[in-house]
Amino acid sequence: MARKKDVLIKNRNLWGWVFSIQTVIAILVTLIYPLVYAGVLSFTNVRFTTVNFEFVGFDNYKWLFTESAFFADLWVSIAFAVVSTAVQTVLGFLLAFMLYFMKGKVQGFFKTALYLPVILPTAVVSSMWMIILAGDEFGVLNVLFGLTDPPFQWLGDKTIAFWAIVIINTWRYYGITMVIYLVNMSAVPKEVVESAEVEGASRGQIMLRIIIPLVMSATSLNIILSMIGGIQSFDLFYLFQTNGNLTLDLTPVGVLIFKTGLGSTNLRNIYLARSVTMSIVLTLIIATVTVLINKVFSRSEDK
């Protein structure tokens, strides 16, 4: 088959490269150049400007593993990612389950409405929740649930703030898991489900025996997406720390990297070489996690 096409299209390769020239440039500029540059930079001691720098071998990596807050913050990121993923995946699944058994129009309405938070800009989401969670007398939660006499600091307490951000994150992204599950559930051939219904199987049984095994790949995808997003989580935490008063104990690794890099207002705290080193190590960690999760799921799928 392929050979037939070969003959038909004149100058196939030439055309191919013409069409893909933008992509190739994009790859070089936005992928290969940054990676190589980051790699080179991580072996220097560039703090901010590149005047008078020198190569310092693996010093930055040594720093990362011994003195930096990288692993402490990574722990925050991973804890956040795992909890977030669990909550989102379960919630998304439950909702997809409920929607699956709904009729077309109703299902469509709910689907659209419930997916809404996903499309909101991050700045809007974080600002909105910041007002709600505000710790002074005017914070919405304090007004509604005025439990304690001093206005409660929702973002001040480490545990509560953690769960608050998990909830906000879930609020934002459960739509994605829900839709992915729903689409995969709907892809199960109708005849299989119908014949099961005719034979008297309940919804629960249908779900358990038929649908769940067939949407394993969806679960794997959901988990991977949530985990990657969770480990890299930056926006919510950063905006809450700078504009709200989120306790500094909850600093995910993304915020640490940003503040060590271009995100610090004090020139003396900017250490570009170390920031890049951390992001390199982070990327490797994310890649490893992704591969691992994939392996786990493909093995169970083959069953």
Partner: protein
């Protein structure tokens, strides 16, 4: 296969060279603005300020200057309080600093580090002396013996107190820290309602509660004569048992005050809320920035207010005023240094300073400015100890950095009673962070050599 590997290798080698070039070529691009080649005609100077609220006044100043100096054109750039640091950082990076730029006098060192600021020492004589106290404010930015920033106006925190309320409660206005403690206790007893704050303070990062902590530590530093040690100005002085014990006592003292409710509900409170508390009569005193004076306009006319600094323990000469100066500096590689100096001298001429004080209710840095508003006048008197550069550390070559954020949060948590550690443990953690910050900068801490003075009364730190 081999061909592919070779291709990939060449590609990467190419990329490597490109990257290396980017890395190696430093900031060779010239800075400053100015029209190219127009030397015989107008010279353009860019001027950065961060006051959108005063932009009319700034424009007026620029226009007046231009009419008196037709050979210079002023181009105004505007940023904001929160963004100016990031703004300037990017300018430093790309080598395009504004010719005359705003920055806090007491925080100019990082820019000096990166060689971005013009040395003003050649112009200083005759100019510095026109400032309050002979120009001690300039010394805050005297780094390595050279001057880098021209103070313009003050930005400081004073305690504003409700004189009428205090009289009703029969509380005398305190003049020492011991009297302050007694006053707070009396007010608290008279008005036990927790949502009323004897002294409204904000328990947030960078808030006024941490300022009070710094104040108490400063009094200790003055009492122990820490500032006389040669390692003090560079902030490299190492901790020792006595210093740590005193630091722990300060923590416990402040924690005690918070526990007794002297600051009301301080945790998480914002400055605007604290001021609102005061204006509405829910606080007897509030610690606030002098440039927020206009927020008190809503207060009842009948109520008399007064201003004071944080009073010192008996025997210490200086009260504590948290603050510094809004100042202007000149970019190192400006094309027109002389013109920039001319402009700065204009900005700090008595005329301009007086006008600015009148129209913008600010407290200025130059000597001789008269404040017709009695509140402004009272405030400027309260702030008199601010220019005192005894405790400034201009030669510090490092910042505590992110460890500073951690330290601040350790302190805040402890004071607010949210920590399970003892004060001494907190101090140890803080000092560990300080060690790390110093090591990061490639420096070493120096043990204190100046001996502790004998017979100093630290009893004000004891918990009553």
């Amino acid at each position: 296969m081999k061909k592919r590997i070779l291709k990939a290798f060449i590609l990467f080698a190419l990329m490597f060279t490109v990257c290396f070039n980017m890395l190696a070529c430093g900031n060779k691009t010239g800075g400053g603005t100015g029209d190219g080649g127009d030397r015989t005609r107008q010279k353009t100077i860019s001027w950065l300020h961060i006051w959108p609220e005063h932009s009319a006044a700034m424009t007026k100043i620029a226009n007046n200057f231009m009419s008196e100096n037709p050979d210079i054109k002023i181009e105004i750039q505007q940023s904001t309080h929160g963004d100016v640091a990031s703004y300037l950082n990017m300018q430093v990076f790309s080598g395009t600093m504004p010719d005359v730029f705003f920055y806090w006098t007491h925080q100019i060192s990082p820019y000096v580090d990166y060689d971005a600021v013009l040395d003003l020492t050649p112009y200083v004589s005759g100019w510095k002396e026109t400032f309050i106290d002979g120009g001690t404010s300039w010394d805050i930015a005297k780094i390595g013996g050279k001057y880098y920033s021209v103070p313009f106006r003050s930005t400081a925190y004073t305690i504003v107190y409700n004189k009428t309320l205090l009289e009703t409660l029969e509380v005398e206005v305190p003049t020492t820290i011991q009297e302050m403690e007694a006053a707070l206790e009396k007010i608290r007893k008279s008005v036990p309602n927790q949502s009323f704050a004897p002294l409204a303070a904000t328990g947030i990062a960078g808030g006024t509660l941490p300022q009070i902590h710094t104040a108490l530590n400063s009094f200790v530093a003055l009492q122990t004569e820490q500032y006389l040690d040669p390692a003090f100005k560079s902030n490299l002085i190492d901790d020792d048992a006595t210093a740590n014990q005193l630091g722990a006592k300060v923590l416990d003292k402040l924690k005690d005050w918070v526990g007794k409710g002297y600051f009301g509900y301080a945790e998480g409170k914002s400055e605007s809320t604290a001021i609102t508390n005061f204006v509405q009569g829910n606080a007897a005193m509030v610690l606030m920035n002098n440039n927020n004076l206009y927020l008190l306009e809503d207060m009842d006319e009948e109520i008399e207010i007064g201003f004071m600094a944080i009073p010192a323990p008996v025997g210490v000469d200086y009260t504590y005023v948290f603050g510094g100066f809004d100042g202007f500096s000149i970019a190192k590689n400006t094309r027109y240094p002389e013109e920039c100096v001319r402009f700065l001298k204009y900005l700090t001429s008595l005329n301009v300073q007086q006008q600015f004080a009148n129209s913008e209710s600010s407290i200025m840095a130059v000597d001789g400015v008269v404040y017709s508003d009695p509140d402004q006048q009272a405030m400027s008197v309260a702030m008199k100890d601010m220019g005192n550069s005894l405790l400034s550390q201009p030669d510090a070559k490092f910042d505590v950095g992110s460890y500073g954020d951690q330290n601040n949060s350790l302190v805040l948590n402890y004071i607010l009673g949210k920590s399970n550690s003892t004060a001494m443990q907190v101090i140890q953690l803080i000092e560990e962070n300080n060690d790390k910050a110093v090591a990061d900068a490639g420096l070493k801490r120096v043990a204190r050599t100046h001996p502790y003075p004998q017979n100093v009364d630290y009893s004000w730190l004891e918990i009553l």
